[in-house]
């Protein structure tokens, strides 16, 4: 038997469907195809609230045509962008502080862990009472979903910086700031980026939940309305949009990650 062909499965002569093309895309595409076929087959068995993929995609096209998707999506993405940005900026900053200063870590650790495990929607009524139906409420929910996972993983990233590198920096008379800027920060970057990537997925969840439970706007509003009509096809159509949003966001974070951590050997790269 011949040796098994390794990763570079390209399809000569066939245009690439996905613009993110790389050698490792083949298994992903295969998994998507299998998933789609299964969905279609199970859907055709006729379970009441499980329409086949083809019907869902047709409904999605129809909804887009009627302008039911694009405008709400823009609203949702605006909230997502603001909430995610706040989470990244403050989450990484607080995480770095916790990683570097043991006292900050000792002081904040219990709160961060408590809020990480608490169901984030518990805070929705509080936000609602402060901001009402405004987008601030949804942004706040997104931040609640996202920031703690970023904080905790960024702090962990700093803690994994090899002590030998810090000692080396100190032996060359580095100031605290130099040590942070030139040793700790670059060494913690790979895991910090992983933290942000996890946060990206959480932010999309927070966006939808916020829209469904507080202010009924954006994609959340579309889902809620469809749900009330027991219109599973529309619910799933919107779900596809949400998954695509999450996927694109995570891919964007990965692209930034790849630029920042190109020094990592391929085998130790996360994700």
């Amino acid at each position: 038997m011949k040796a098994v062909a390794v990763p570079r499965l390209s399809h000569p002569g066939r245009p690439r469907r996905l613009p993110l093309g790389s050698a490792s895309l083949a298994p992903t595409v295969l998994a998507l195809v299998v998933g789609a076929v299964l969905w279609e087959l199970v859907g055709r068995l006729g379970f009441p609230f499980f329409p086949p993929l083809s019907a869902v995609l047709a409904r999605l096209a129809e909804m887009i045509g009627k302008g039911m998707i694009i405008d709400p999506l823009v609203t949702s993405l605006g909230n997502l962008a603001i909430g995610f940005a706040i989470s990244v900026v403050f989450g990484v900053a607080i995480g770095l502080l916790m990683g570097v200063y043991h006292r900050v870590h000792a002081a904040l650790d219990i709160y961060v862990n408590a809020l990480l495990t608490a169901p984030s929607l518990v805070f929705a009524p509080i936000f609602f009472s402060i901001w009402g139906l405004d987008r601030q409420s949804i942004i706040a929910v997104i931040v609640m979903y996202t920031i703690f996972v970023i904080i905790i993983n960024t702090a962990a990233a700093v803690e994994t910086v090899p002590a030998s590198l810090i000692e080396m920096g100190r032996s060359y008379n580095a100031s605290d700031w130099q040590l942070f800027r030139k040793v700790i920060l670059p060494a913690a970057t790979p895991l910090t980026m992983a933290a942000i990537r996890v946060g990206a997925g959480a932010a999309v969840k927070g966006m939808v939940n916020g829209e469904m439970f507080i202010a009924v706007v954006g994609l959340g509003a579309v889902v809620t309305a469809a749900g009330r009509r027991f219109d599973a096809t529309s619910v799933l159509a919107v779900l596809i949009v949400m998954i695509v949003v999450a996927f694109v966001l995570i891919k964007a974070v990965q692209l930034v990650d790849a630029r920042l951590t190109s020094w990592l050997p391929p085998t130790s790269r996360t994700g």
Binding site: P162, S164, L165, E167, M168, G169, R170, S171, Y172, N173, A174, Q178, K182, V183, P186, A187, T189, T261, W263, L264, P265
Partner: protein, 268 residues
């Protein structure tokens, strides 16, 4: 001149009990332009001593001074070469070598010129743009050595720098280090657990014993310099063999004594 007087350093044992006396009442003078090697079994406090000299750890009692100035932390007149290389994995060879200069605020052009020169000295020309992960262990330690030399230290502290390398690489780097040192003759304090390495490189060998870490003997090495020209002849000479076998006898006795004491401690 480096003067160490009455140095004591203890570490708390696990769960705060069973204090370990890493260094006990150690006094030592290192002369300018001397290549001093420190030899001892593991746990004899030799690395702790070096870290104290580097200003990386505090000690309990005693004094360390360099040219009369007491050591209170790391200083620009000292630089260190680490056993595990401690290179920045994201920085190129050039930037790693220039790192100490960068921390000192030396301009980009100047530090890169200096680094390039040292890269040549340690025989890594052509690898300037490589990352440490792309280099062998021996090459990585050449980078570590170049980085330490780039800041033009008066004292070079080397913590078992070749301990993680295979025998061939180790010998090549010993020759290289001798060649570089015999050209610049800065003060070097070199930690090792290899008798041959200690004798081949050193002007004097400080023999330490473990638990507590103490100096047992200081053995002068009267082998002629430069030694780099003919390392093989030096290491097969009668004198060389005599000194290493003397060191071995002492080390073996120390080990026996330790085991003996261990048995007594268990028995009592």
């Amino acid at each position: 001149m480096i003067e160490i007087t009455g140095l004591c350093k203890a570490f708390a044992g696990r769960r705060g009990i069973g204090e370990v006396q890493a260094i006990q009442d150690l006094s030592l003078t290192v002369h300018d332009h001397e290549f001093l090697t420190i030899l001892g079994p593991s746990g004899c406090g030799k690395t702790t001593l070096l870290r104290a000299l580097a200003g990386l750890v505090d000690w309990d009692e005693g004094e360390i001074s360099i040219d009369g100035k007491p050591v209170r932390g790391p200083g620009p007149e000292r630089s260190m070469v680490f056993q595990n290389f401690a290179l920045l994995p994201w920085a190129t060879v050039l930037n790693n070598v220039a790192f100490g200069l960068e921390l000192r605020g030396v301009g980009k052009k100047e530090r890169e010129e200096k680094a390039a020169h040292l890269i040549q000295t340690v025989g890594l020309s052509g690898f300037e743009k490589r990352l440490p992960g792309e280099l062998s262990g021996g090459m990585q330690q050449r980078v570590g050595l170049a980085r330490a030399l780039a800041v033009e230290p008066e004292v070079l502290l080397m913590d078992e720098p070749f301990g993680a390398l295979d025998e061939q690489t180790r010998r090549l780097l010993q020759e290289e280090l001798l060649r570089i040192w015999e050209a610049n003759r800065i003060t070097v304090i070199f930690i090792t657990h290899s008798m041959e390495e200690a004798v081949l490189l050193g002007d004097r060998v400080v023999l330490m014993s473990a638990r507590p870490g103490k100096i047992q003997e200081i053995v002068p090495v009267p082998l002629a310099r430069p030694r780099s020209a003919d390392v093989d002849r030096v290491s097969q000479s009668e004198e060389f063999v005599a000194i290493t076998s003397h060191l071995w006898t002492r080390l073996r006795d120390m080990q026996h004594e330790l085991q003996h004491r261990g048995v007594e401690a268990v028995a009592s």
